[in-house]
Assembly symmetry: C2
Amino acid sequence: MSLRNFLRTYFSSNRKMRQAIKNIFGFYPGNIFLYKQAFRHKSASLNHKSGSRINNERLEYLGDAVLGVVIADYLFRRFPFENEGFLTEMRSKIVSRSSLNKLSNKLGLKDFMRFSNTDIRQMKSVGGDAFEAFIGALYLDRGYHFTRKIIIKRIVEVHFDLDQLVQSEISYKSKIIEWAQKTRKKHQFQVISEETIKNRKQFKVAILIDNEVIAEAYDYTIKGAENLSAEKAWSLLSNNS
Amino acid sequence: MSLRNFLRTYFSSNRKMRQAIKNIFGFYPGNIFLYKQAFRHKSASLNHKSGSRINNERLEYLGDAVLGVVIADYLFRRFPFENEGFLTEMRSKIVSRSSLNKLSNKLGLKDFMRFSNTDIRQMKSVGGDAFEAFIGALYLDRGYHFTRKIIIKRIVEVHFDLDQLVQSEISYKSKIIEWAQKTRKKHQFQVISEETIKNRKQFKVAILIDNEVIAEAYDYTIKGAENLSAEKAWSLLSNNS
């Protein structure tokens, strides 16, 4: 490629990204290089002369924290009479990996991404990671207040239905994990047995707190049995405290 | 107490808190009621007419997120060539419960706190929780930029030695937990056996990833054996990836 063609392609790709960000999020980026980095998967890392690798992982770390505080703040004000357990749970529903992956697909962020090969493109979590990295880039580019406005006006209020989220099913497993972390208890979900009944596998899962079994449950998937056992455990714990 | 005395005591306690915050953090609070709420332990909750209880738990939830992003941002800029694993670990060292409890004791925050009784005052995590709630109050009172300045200039740069933190011992257990959460693997630490050798108990702990034992270790405490097994597991995982 001649230098002239290289430069043309290069600046035209920047222009396209600027325009796409304007279309999706409603603003023109200042420093386009931050956003290009946000969409660079680690499989397509560049090498920096310091020896470090340039990709979107640092921005993802930053964006995750920025998103966390903006959503925390938003829910804090939106639900003035709810306790912190409710707020924590609502936030998890919004910023969970699966929620952010869905959001990223809806916004079409994968189209901007650079990977080493297309297999990686198929990986689910790539989308949510890229969204977080985008938020990190936005924060560095335009600061906290602007980022907060974009997250609330262009993301939360457009793509999330809070009333429906309040109703949506609770993961008892995450409640137990959160409780265990908060109270510094050791928790384990353990598959106790696996039986095939009428050609269908059934799993028995136990939940252990500080090495003692406190509940058990059966289901056709490990995940299902875990959540059922967690629900039993949760009802025990709630009655005790 | 006469109304006059009540009012005198009331305003004098507000004045004391204002002055103490100025002495410790270098600024006069605007809305003192936010800070009073930050120092109200749940055991001394007030009842709101909505039925909700007024204490520092909501502010703690908010402050935890604010602290998270300010430290993430600070480390991001301070260590431009380190990867996100390093940044995550450094942040954990700063905002861990034990680190914040120590900080809170150093600052003397417990002196402001309201409890239902003095037993609760002795609980370790009360200090760290109050510090986070204070940060939540500060954020609502003075906004993001001011809060960021206070955290960096009056907390991080005064009370933390980053060079020493870089060197400080790594918890392999937290590395494993973090890795498992990131890669969505199931992890368990399991006490396999407990033997008394020469009048001293020795524990054998196994670490299971997706229900398979990948490392085992012995130590005189469960915690020690867990960390040793995690260290072995970590070295296996690092060689594989």
